[in-house]
């Protein structure tokens, strides 16, 4: 059973809710970052919601995903809880990573979310590895790796795709082509019209879909998932989409024109999907507004949760390096925390 069945009315409403949740989460994160409350970097998913939700809806709960630096949307789409997500952005102990990861490393391995990733192109090899576990253990699940258009230039993506294709591993590669890698347009990063052309190098199906249309994404992933489960190996999907905000919050966006942004904003994946449901009579305007305010409440609560959560204690910095106890770390921690301790050097 897919996580969210877009063939059903409830499913479609749930998908809409998730897209709205992403939008609201990232709007809030962007504001809080601009206000200096959230440290580090944040990369917002606003505008790309149909890709994440369309894809993760087609997965089952125990399928794996690997994500990117732009991971909030994937997390919410995969069913992660906005509270510990936001707490992680705030670097709090209640965050998914106890404050050690931040926006770029949110993970919930038990939920099949193998981590946002600060390294462009690192996800596909990891997804291939998850698929290898699945394959070797004969499990009935798949892995899906999100990657950006820019990431398609990374060698390790290709090395992994070659491995997955050769071994028929149950993994799906989903390129979110938002037309830029930071400030560089996709045409300056690649020589192909469509990045799904990559599939040809590995003799796997390659397909380009409208990433502003949740249904199109969902169908492509559903099909790819079937292929994967049937032992027919990977599929390479390109979803054409757009990020409405800058690459990171604070980006001056000198590399693109306002009217390009407006053209894409006119195709807002949430508005168009909501309108479709309204047109079909599945959703009333009132219900839509109610949904929006529910989601606002959810994110407000997440924000409050995060803001009032505890800072990790400094000495927690020394935890989690290894499963085993490592004397170096214990010793260095002791030295730093004891304000230096004794001069050592053995006995005089």
């Amino acid at each position: 059973m897919p996580t969210i069945d877009l063939e059903t009315e409830t499913g479609r409403k749930e998908a809409l809710r998730r897209m709205l949740t992403i939008r609201q989460f990232d709007t809030t994160a962007g504001e809080r970052f601009a206000d200096g409350e959230i440290p580090g970097f944040v990369h917002l998913y606003i505008g790309e919601e149909a890709v994440g939700v369309g894809a993760c809806s087609a997965l089952e709960d125990d399928d794996y995903i690997t994500s990117t630096h732009r991971g909030h949307g994937h997390c919410i789409a995969k069913g992660l809880d906005p509270k510990p997500m936001m707490a992680e952005l705030y670097g709090k102990r209640e965050g998914y990573c106890n404050g050690k990861g931040g926006s770029m490393h949110i993970a919930d391995v038990d939920a099949g979310m193998l981590g946002a990733n600060g390294i462009v192109g690192a996800g596909p090899p990891l997804g291939t590895g998850a698929a290898l576990t699945i394959d070797r253990k004969g499990e009935d699940r798949v892995a899906l790796s999100f990657l950006g258009d820019g990431a398609v230039a990374q060698g390790q993506v290709h090395s992994a795709a070659n491995l997955a294709a050769t071994w028929d591993l149950p993994v799906i590669f989903l390129v979110e082509n938002n037309h830029y890698g930071e400030g560089t347009p996709v045409e300056e990063q690649h020589n192909v019209e469509n990045l799904s052309a990559t599939a040809g190098a590995y003799n796997v199906p390659g397909i380009t879909v409208d990433g502003m249309d949740i249904t199109a994404v969902n169908e492509a992933v559903t099909e790819a998932r079937e292929r994967a489960r049937a032992g027919d190996g990977p599929t390479f999907i390109e979803a054409e989409t757009y990020r409405f905000h800058g690459h990171f919050e604070g980006d001056e966006e000198l590399y693109r024109e306002d009217d390009e942004v407006e053209r894409w904003e006119a195709r807002d994946p949430i508005e168009t999907f909501a309108q479709r449901l309204i047109d079909r009579g599945e959703l009333t305007n009132e219900e839509y507004e109610a949904l929006q305010s529910e989601v606002e409440t959810t994110i407000e609560e997440a924000l409050e949760y995060a803001q009032s959560a505890e800072e990790p204690a400094p000495e927690e910095a020394y935890d989690d390096m290894f499963a085993a106890e490592v004397p170096e770390i214990t010793e260095f921690a002791r030295r730093v925390r004891a304000d230096g301790g004794d001069p050592d050097g053995g006995e005089r």
Binding site: A151, G183, T184
Partner: protein, 333 residues
């Protein structure tokens, strides 16, 4: 070429970031073979705004935005350097060097030797290091110790704007591969920089930033400034000599030894993870060459073998700083 001393030269105040950018500008103007390549260094001016407006002056042919493929473009820089170009590569964050390490370690570093000296490898690799920005584990690494360890590569890491200029000029003019490590927390630090367009600092020279007789602090990057502040605080109490190591490889053993012959006590402060870090090599040089001058155990100040955690309170905990340098000094004087 001008000498390394700053005395009596005309200077101007600039930040580390400006010193790097202006040096790139001067070297590109001076030598047509010099060009820059890296991710978002042209249109965006670099994510940490180092290359800035250079593409406007030199065009996108000489300030090249690359696709996001460090293995490909590091290899291309290596091939270009072997055929008469003088590329300056930017690796946005030093953690990304992992992507390109094959070309670095097996081609760039080895080609000259494997070919019996019959090629030159005039390539400079600029990259940012260090914690302090809340950028978490994959954007905060300090990896210069392993580059310094790898035979065939030179590595420098300036602690001041003047050092940034002088070392970057030497790196670009060098016929060997030189890694230029920029700590991201000192881009805004300012200081006097010689205006001379031929001001170079020899690769392999440390610099005594402050003389002292009680204890030597050998520091790098951000910790140079912090150690100087500590030295000021301790003034009157303890007379601290502060050395900016500047070059990691070659490493200036002589300056280390000279200082130790005077002070007999050593603190090494560097943001590398402690085990197998730059500190250890400085210790080894000291023990090999100044053993009988040493009066106390050498103290190492660095990252306690963790990655950089995201949360600011955790990051502060593991980042070495002036207070730790001070503690280390107090432990041995």
């Amino acid at each position: 070429m001008a000498s390394a001393g700053l005395e009596a030269e005309a200077t101007e105040t600039m930040t580390v970031r400006e010193a790097i950018r202006e040096t790139l500008r001067e070297e590109m103007a001076r030598d047509e073979d010099v060009f820059l390549m890296g991710e978002d260094i042209a249109t965006m001016g670099g994510v940490l705004d180092v290359t800035g407006d250079l593409h406007e002056q030199f065009g996108k042919d000489r300030v090249r935005d690359t696709p996001i493929g460090e293995s490909g473009f590091m290899g291309a820089a290596t091939g270009a350097a072997a055929t008469g170009s003088r590329p300056v590569v930017e690796i946005m964050f030093s953690d990304f060097l992992g992507v390109a390490m094959e070309q670095v370690m097996n081609q760039m570093a080895k080609m000259r030797y494997m070919f019996g000296g019959k090629t030159e490898m005039p390539v400079t690799v600029r990259t940012t290091e260090g914690g302090g920005m809340g950028a978490a584990s994959q954007h905060s690494g300090t990896v210069h110790s392993w580059i310094a360890h790898f035979p065939g590569l030179m590595a420098v890491a300036p602690g001041t704007p003047a050092a940034a200029k002088g070392l970057l000029k030497s790196a670009i003019r060098s016929d060997d591969p030189v890694f230029f490590f920029e700590n991201k927390m000192i881009y805004e630090q300012s200081g006097e920089v010689p205006v001379d367009e031929d001001f170079t600092i020899p690769l392999g020279e440390a610099h005594v930033e402050r003389e002292g007789s009680d204890v030597t602090v050998i520091a790098t990057q951000r910790l140079v400034g912090e150690s100087l502040s500590v030295a000021d605080e301790l003034e009157g109490d303890t007379d601290v000599e502060v050395i900016d190591l500047r070059s990691l490889y070659p490493l200036d053993t002589d300056t280390i030894v000279e200082s130790l012959e005077k002070t007999g006590r050593l603190v090494v402060a560097d943001e590398s993870p402690l085990s197998y870090g730059t500190h250890a090599e400085v210790v080894a040089r000291a023990v090999e060459n100044a053993f009988y001058s040493l009066d106390a155990p050498i103290q190492r100040v660095g990252v306690p073998d963790t990655h950089m955690p995201f949360s600011p309170s955790l990051e502060r905990e593991v980042l070495p700083d002036g207070a730790e340098v001070r503690d280390a000094i107090e432990r041995i004087v």
